[in-house]
């Protein structure tokens, strides 16, 4: 499974997204589920799935699916 597929599944599960949501275009606070509480759940789920520890600035900067992909690649996570 590719990084994008794994991350998409994390977003869907952590934010309890309904079917049909365009995960790739999601941005922080665009939807009700991705509020500050959802963000905490999402960060914890990403850290668990990819065995990484995000720094404070990364947690704050994680504002979209695309940013998360780039961040994980920067941390050495490959497809």
């Amino acid at each position: 499974m590719s990084l994008n597929d794994r991350l998409r599944a994390v977003f869907v599960n952590a934010l309890e997204l309904p079917d049909g949501v365009d995960v790739e275009s999601l941005k922080y606070r665009d939807i009700q589920q991705w509020d500050s509480l959802g963000h905490m759940t999402l960060v914890a789920a990403i850290e668990d799935e990819f065995a990484v520890q995000l720094e404070t600035e990364q947690v704050i900067d994680l504002s979209s699916f695309k940013v998360a992909v780039d961040m994980l690649r920067g941390l050495g996570v490959d497809d």
Binding site: S36, M40, T56, V59, I60
Partner: protein, 221 residues
């Protein structure tokens, strides 16, 4: 039965204060404890070494919270500390390990804590000795704050970490949102002939909610 040494007499004052305070409401209790008259401090909250506590106006302290001011504790105005919170300014860890855990041990380590103004400390959180929490900080429930927290951010977890930074404009926008929602609820209450004294009026279930489940979580007929 009763001891009359200095320590016993000192502790007994606190015990009696707790007992008497149990009969008072939150504002009366604050007055009884010598806190600012705008303070609301709920049942069974406990202050250790209140002489070392500096607390601003309009603070709220929840049930069962322990504020240990023995090492120095400052709380800014308009800050709420939720239910069952523990704010520590001392620790006996070294006295324990040196097997010197006696009353009056000089191995008690004390470090002051400062909590800024406009903070919200969620219930069941722990603030460790020596920590400084900035202004307008939100600490999520069940967090353990082990290091300093800057102004205007949300922290969560054990150990607590920053999950969000915000500014005054964001706070103002959120305040507008909540005021608008509350105004709509009040208007709805008044439309039903109710008088809302504070907070939300009686919740009204939509027809969909009413047929979804009953009190047992079973589908209603």
């Amino acid at each position: 039965m009763f001891l009359d040494d200095e320590r016993s007499s000192r502790l007994r004052i606190g015990i009696l204060n707790d007992y008497v305070g149990g009969f008072l409401n939150d504002v009366e209790r604050a007055n009884f404890l010598g806190l600012p008259p705008t303070t609301r401090i709920r049942e069974r909250a406990k202050i250790i070494s209140p002489e070392n506590l500096s607390i601003g106006e309009y603070c709220w302290i929840g049930e069962n919270t322990v504020l240990d001011a023995s090492g120095g504790l400052t709380i800014g105005e308009h800050t709420s500390i939720g239910l069952n919170c523990l704010v520590f300014t001392h620790s006996s860890w070294l006295a324990n390990m040196k097997l010197e855990n006696r009353s009056g041990s000089d191995l008690i380590e004390r470090k002051a804590v400062r909590i800024g103004k406009g903070c919200f400390i969620g219930g069941n959180s722990v603030i460790m000795p020596g920590v400084t929490i900035g202004d307008c900080v939100t600490v999520s429930p069940l967090s353990v704050v082990t290091k300093d927290v800057p102004d205007y951010c949300l922290v969560s977890g054990n150990p607590a970490r920053v999950f969000q930074r915000y500014d005054q404009a964001w706070i103002d926008a959120e305040a507008d949102r909540v005021r608008t929602e509350n105004a709509a609820r009040r208007a709805e209450a008044e439309a039903h002939g109710e008088k809302s004294s504070w907070g939300s009026p009686r919740l009204r279930l939509t027809p969909t909610d009413q047929i979804t489940s009953n009190h047992n979580g079973e589908e209603a007929k």
